[in-house]
């Protein structure tokens, strides 16, 4: 077991509001972790602290054995340069895709390798082709983002993150902005990545996906990990009342198995 990511005592407050309250988490290479919880529980903030889109108020984050930041007198300071370097090693996919509208699909995917990693033109192109192929959109390479469906845009955003060949991938509600019929293609792409051994930390409301794909499910409430374990124990046999209530809310209206033959 190789530990890729270690989070210790992570705190985050915005002014008086405490959003994360002592998160500890260890993620092994190849593990898929799904984070669930009500809105406001801190799950997105936790994800955003991992690649320092938000700067933690306290605690320590260690990626592949190297602790991020310089600790002195009980607080940790971060240099912009270190954080920029760290973000290049961590992939992130956003709820709203955030593709670069002035670039073609292929240019979007090449941008990181080209501008940040300073790869050669040949290498940039090779990576773009490879990862666009992986998300099934090689044929859209020369389109502009505005010409794609939401699901396709999100798959391009995944390819853009993969092109950096990151050590871990973060998904922040990657399907929440999509029309229901487009959710499946993005989740399938994510599942393929998980099956190939990518280390992933996923915030989602798709409990069925969590059940199928996660190695471990975390339930967050009030900035704390309230319950965690394999999907069966957290999603099917929850122990905490808060987890039960959350799942009850999600299961209020449910289809019996539709007959799709």
């Amino acid at each position: 077991m190789v530990e890729i990511l270690k989070i210790e005592g992570l705190n985050k407050s915005f002014g008086d509001l405490t959003v994360l309250d002592g998160i500890d988490l260890s993620v092994n290479k190849g593990e898929t972790i799904v984070v669930i919880g009500a809105s406001g529980s801190g799950k997105s903030t936790m994800l955003r602290c991992v690649n320092f889109m938000e700067i933690p108020s306290g605690g320590r984050i260690t990626l592949n054995g190297s602790a991020i930041g310089t600790a002195s007198n009980g607080s940790v300071t971060y240099s912009e340069k270190e954080l920029t370097g760290l973000r290049a090693r961590v992939g992130m996919v956003f709820q709203h895709f955030n593709l670069f509208p002035h670039m073609t699909v292929k240019q979007n995917v090449m941008e990181g390798p080209k501008t940040v990693l300073k790869c050669s033109a040949v290498e940039c192109s090779r990576r773009a082709d490879k990862y666009l192929e992986k998300v099934g959109l090689g044929w859209k390479a020369d389109s502009f983002p505005s010409q794609l469906s939401g699901g396709q845009q999100q798959r391009v955003a995944i390819a853009r993150a993969l092109a950096m060949e990151p050590e871990i991938m973060l998904f922040d509600e990657a399907t929440s902005a999509l029309d229901p019929e487009l959710v499946g293609e993005v989740l399938l792409t994510m599942k393929e990545l998980a099956d190939e051994g990518m280390t992933m930390l996923i915030v989602t409301h798709e409990l069925g996906f969590a059940y199928t794909v996660a190695d471990r499910v975390l339930f967050l409430a009030n900035g704390k990990i309230l319950e965690q374990g394999d999907p069966e124990s957290v999603l099917i046999n929850p122990q905490q009342d808060a987890t039960k209530n959350f799942l009850r809310g999600h299961g209020s209206f449910r289809l019996p198995e539709p007959n799709l033959d």
């Binding site: 889109m53 290049a88 992939g91 956003f94 709203h96 670069f100 002035h102 941008e111 501008t115 939401g150």
Partner: protein, 226 residues
């Protein structure tokens, strides 16, 4: 009202008007050349500079925007030699004044363009490891500039019209020449009609060109959904 138009006497001096137009374009062109990049820097300093930079730059921009251009022109023309001992000719004073004056307006155009870009674009750039400079250069400015084209054109036209003030310090621009010809030929109506027509042709042609450019830019994708 039987006014008899007579362009003949005016057209004899048409070459003077053309030279005046060339001078107008020289001042306008150079002021754009210096004013646009300076405007970009002012905008970036105002947006991202530390307090010690942000505040004075803001004051400078507001000052340049709110004082009459003719006062600025006189100030640079007359004050520079007195205060700094630097002799400048009317041409230099004109370019200096209008570069600075237009940079303040361009700074506001740039700033408006930059802040209009969705924060998600910054985040996406940041998430693939770009620093602020790279994000600005590769992601934010290319999109912002595209949106700013109409405002740029508006400012450039405004600038060209404002340069008519340079005649007051005896720089021989189009309007200055027109004035001279009017005084020597007593054909004010003809000569100013002609001068106005020349301004119109140049500005209208530029604005058509920019409109075509805009259509061309508009063909590449605009916004992502969501």
């Amino acid at each position: 009202m039987g006014y008899e138009w007579d362009f003949g006497v005016v057209l004899r001096d048409f070459d003077l008007l053309l030279w005046g137009l060339v001078n107008t374009l020289k001042v306008t062109g150079l002021s754009l050349l210096f004013g646009v990049p300076l405007g970009l820097f002012l905008a970036l300093w105002r947006l991202y500079g530390g307090r010690l930079i942000r505040v004075p730059v803001g004051v400078l921009i507001e000052f340049l925007r709110t004082t009459p251009p003719i006062a600025q022109l006189f100030w640079f023309f007359f004050a520079m030699p007195i205060l700094l001992g630097i002799e400048i000719d009317p041409f230099q004073a004109s370019v200096l004044t209008f570069s600075l004056q237009s940079s303040a307006f361009f700074a506001e155009v740039f700033r408006g363009g930059i802040v209009s870009i969705d924060n998600g674009q910054w985040e996406a750039a940041k998430a693939i490891g770009m620093d602020r400079n790279a994000s600005l250069r590769r992601i934010i400015l290319p999109q912002a500039v595209k949106r700013m084209v109409p405002a740029f054109l508006e400012r450039a036209i405004e600038l060209m019209k404002t340069t008519t003030l340079v005649g007051t310090i005896s720089y021989a621009d189009l309007l200055y020449e027109a004035n001279n010809i009017a005084q020597s030929t007593y054909r004010s109506l003809e000569v100013f009609s002609l001068a106005a027509g020349m301004y119109f042709v140049v500005i209208f042609a530029c604005s058509m060109g920019v409109r075509r450019l805009e259509r061309h830019l508009g063909r590449t994708g605009e916004t992502t959904t969501g």
